[in-house]
Symmetry: C2
Subunit: 243 residues, 2 copies
Amino acid sequence: MKIGFIGFGALNSTLASKIKKHQLMTSSEERSIKTIKAIEVSNIEIIDSFESLSKNSDLLIVSTSPASSIAISQKYGKLCKGIYLDLNNISPKTSIEVSNNVNNFVDAAIIGSIENNPILYLSGKNAFKLKFLNQFIPVKIISDKIGDASRLKLLRSIYTKNLSLVLIEAFDVAKEYGLENELLDTIAITEGEKFKAKAISRINNTKKNSKRKTEELFEIIEYFNESDLEVTKSSYDKLKKLI
Amino acid sequence: MKIGFIGFGALNSTLASKIKKHQLMTSSEERSIKTIKAIEVSNIEIIDSFESLSKNSDLLIVSTSPASSIAISQKYGKLCKGIYLDLNNISPKTSIEVSNNVNNFVDAAIIGSIENNPILYLSGKNAFKLKFLNQFIPVKIISDKIGDASRLKLLRSIYTKNLSLVLIEAFDVAKEYGLENELLDTIAITEGEKFKAKAISRINNTKKNSKRKTEELFEIIEYFNESDLEVTKSSYDKLKKLI
């Protein structure tokens, strides 16, 4: 199968390094020097333009940035007669919009970090055609509905983002009594020995990226606006104050 | 050492079965038939009255019910010249009140369930005298301040109770899309394989005991009323609706 990559950052380049026995291609058209170097090192085929890459791919894998998803689908979507897989972290709404711009869309969500053996969740009528990727990265097909994979990622975020705010709240109160270390120790008794390091990294990561995470929480609340999200809303309020 | 037990429910009877090489005693005074049977099976010494038990104990371990802590300390506290250890799940305020009724108080919190190797957290000036218990149950002495051990348990509850409400919120939204199982699966990718069963048990347990848990959350909010607990407050509001 001819597999074309649009975007060659951490995700796509790691993916390319995992996929064997297929013809892998990308383009260096208007790419940064850094990206071109990454492409050269990877030993995959370099095509003149993304236009001809799109035309020649049985599977087009897009991982650029969420903000560029729609524009890229408008530019290259109809050129690709094969499957169009968008790995950007986009909302279910954007997924549906992208799917309207392309021929054979598959909705996707990467869960877990790319360094740590993540799982590729897929949904949509064409998802079953990508089962073969399971040889290279764990693949789970959840439904034939476009939007389900990206919805699942948002749902997961309800848990992870709220958890970080709960940790911050408990940690900050404990600090007032000088018991913050003991607090993490006592939670680790039931949550496992890795809990402590993970909790500290979650707290720091959330505080450091509070602006971006506030935006992401806003997107969640907006998307699920008919659901009961009262804890999530107070997490959002709390996080906004940390910016 | 002469160790007297007031109360012989799951906690004290398990503790009695773990402690070796010391003289263990309790009283069957006004006890239920069930408790008397448990005492007889345990093979520990039976004293006529709790009064004489208290007078003769170098260490008095009280595990009855949180509501009875103060009354018991008033009745037997001054009779015991040894150490008075209250294992009831009481608030830091109650701990201080109990400590005023007894001679040598040690503040305590059992973290983890008694069946699963819990840890005994201790605080107070006399806590170091109970280090020897570490041969029988893991003991951690956190400070010489009465109230710290029970405060730590409340702080831990901020985390565990909020976590349950976060799980309920994410799970209920996922259910609207038929993705609740997939949600738990995706979280388990980073939280470990035991996550799923634990999450389901937390959700069910919280829903089943919503009344008691609402009262416990209220106590936390009241106790830490000068701290920023906005996420906890919305968890409380959400939980109240589940009663």
